[in-house]
Each structure stands twice: as C-alpha cells, then as structure tokens.
Amino acid sequence: MRHLYTWGAILVMSLASVVGDVLLARAMKQVGDVHALLRRSGLWIVIGRVLSNPNFFLGVTAMAAAFFSLLFALSWGDVSLIAPAAASLTFIGNALAAKIFLHEKVDSRRWIAAMLVATGVALLAG
C-alpha cells in the first residue's frame, strides 16, 4: 500500500512537472536570453519581464503542485527512489511535450538519451 502511494505521488508529480516545465520553458523563450537582456536593460527589467509573463505564473502553479506531491512522496519513501524516478518520467514526458508544444528538434541523440533514461527508471523500480 505504501508502494502504491509512493508511485501514485511520483506519477502525479511527473505529470505536474511536465506541464510546469513546458510552460516555464515557453515563458523563458518568450523573455529571451537573460544574460543579453541583463547587459542591455538591468536586473529589474529582467525580473519584471519574467514576472509579467502569464506562462510563467501557470508554470509556477504546476510546479507548486509537483512540489507538494514531492513532500507527500518523501514522507512515504526514499529520496534515492523518488527523486530520480519522478525526474526520469518527467524527462521522457518532457521530450514528447517539448517536441509537440515547443517545436524543439528532438534528434536521435536526444531520443537515445530518453530510452536510456527509461531503462534506468525500470531499474530504479526494482
């Protein structure tokens, strides 16, 4: 039962993380390279641009949901299982979501990485 709870929390956490990651990545792509922006306009402009981006707020909300499922999961299981398992599932979900929603070119190198990660996740579950 404890395992079921732990894996349930891991799944919820992964889903929320994928949604959050994609929204945050979209927000930061809209903001643009912060180093260039920092040199041109200064710190407050950068912070203002990030905070006024609606995708950023939606992303943070999803990340907060992921964070609270992490707290639940951590009180039920080991961190060396939960953190890599959730992060790896998130990674695979992100590869798909980034291709579909962010139009990133997920090349063979990145797909091979995703498959190795999937194998790693299977081993973590054992």
């Binding site: 990651d21 994609v22 945050l24 990545a25 930061m28 792509k29 809209q30 903001v31 643009g32 390279d33 912060v34 180093h35 260039a36 922006l37 040199r39 990030v50 990340m63 964070f67 609270f68 992490l70 707290l71 639940f72 951590l74 009180s75 039920w76 080991d78 961190v79 060396s80 299982l81 953190a83 890599p84 992060a87 790896s88 998130t90 990674f91 992100n94 590869a95 980034a98 291709k99 962010l102 139009h103 990133e104 070119k105 997920v106 090349d107 190198r109 990145r110 091979i112 990485a113 995703a114 498959m115 190795l116 990660v117 194998t119 790693g120 996740v121 299977a122 081993l123 973590l124 054992g126």
Partner: protein, 167 residues
C-alpha cells in the same frame, strides 16, 4: 574570430557550464535536505493537511526550500538560452550527486540495481550535453552549427541572436 572573440567565446562557454552546474548542484542538495526534514516531522497524512504546513517550519525543510529556490533561478536562466530537452539531460549529473548524498549523508540503502539505473540515466542523458543547446531557432554563436540558422521566429519578441559580440 580574433583574440578578443576567442576570449568572449571562452567566457560564454564557462558561463554556460557554470549555470548548468548550478542547476545540478542546487537540485541535488535541495531534495535530500527536504527528505531529512520530512523524516523528522513524520508521515504527512491526507487527513491532516495542516501537518504539511508545520513541516515547512522545520529548519532542514526551510534550507531545502531555499536551495530549491536557487535551483529555480538557475533553471530559469538556463531555459532562457537553451532548449528544455537540452537543459534537463545536461543537468542529469544531479542524480549521481543525489545517490551519493542519499548513501553517505542520509545512510539510505542504495542497491546495485538502483546504482545501475542511476548510472544509465546519467550516462544516457549526459551525451546530450555536448550537442546544440538550442534547436528551434537560430543557433547562438557559441554552438555547433548542426542546424542552419533561420529567422522564422524573429517576430516572437525574443532576440534570436543572443550573443551579439560587443567587443
């Protein structure tokens, strides 16, 4: 590329890996702190949600949250100049750090299967770090030009040529 150009390239490359290292280290140190704190506060039950807020008052949980905020800042920084499918694998070294911390600081049992899984994850995703950081619009000047630069998204509002050399 002249002497100044080479120096600038070195600076940008160093900064790139510094930001990625920051993401990895803050991610790997934040979670164990939370784990340690949560083990002290005990099991959080769905019927006693208030215990979740009490947990935030635990100093280990509080430090863990500060580290995760530092992670968040460097993560946002990285996402502003790199793909999501680049940043996540490139910072995967955090899994190795995490396993070492769990084994030696938290004294959790890490089986050989889990070690192998962690090795596969970090090895597999590590190969991505050497590739291009950005694929969906014009490549930054310090990247391998595996994809031809194109100005399709120039009207997005985001500056696509991020590394204009000002020297």
């Amino acid at each position: 590329m002249g002497h100044a150009g080479t120096l600038y390239w070195l600076y940008v490359t160093f900064r790139k890996y510094l930001v990625l290292a920051g993401v990895a280290v803050f991610a790997a140190t934040g979670d164990p702190m939370l784990s340690y704190g949560m083990k002290q506060t005990g099991t959080v039950s769905l019927h006693h949600l208030s215990s979740l807020f009490a947990a935030v008052l635990n100093p280990w949980v509080a430090v863990g949250i500060v580290l995760l905020l530092a992670f968040f800042a460097s993560y946002m920084n990285a996402l502003s100049w790199a793909d999501l499918t680049y940043v996540l694998p490139a910072t995967s070294i955090s899994y190795v750090l995490l396993a070492l911390i769990a084994r030696f600081a938290l004294h959790e049992q890490v089986s050989w299967r889990r070690w192998l899984g962690i090795a596969l994850i970090s090895g597999g995703v590590g190969i991505v770090a050497g590739g291009p950081a950005r694929t969906e619009r014009a490549q930054a000047r310090n990247e391998h030009l595996e994809y031809p630069p194109f100005a399709k998204n120039a009207k997005d509002g985001a500056p696509s040529a991020s590394y204009e050399v000002e020297l």
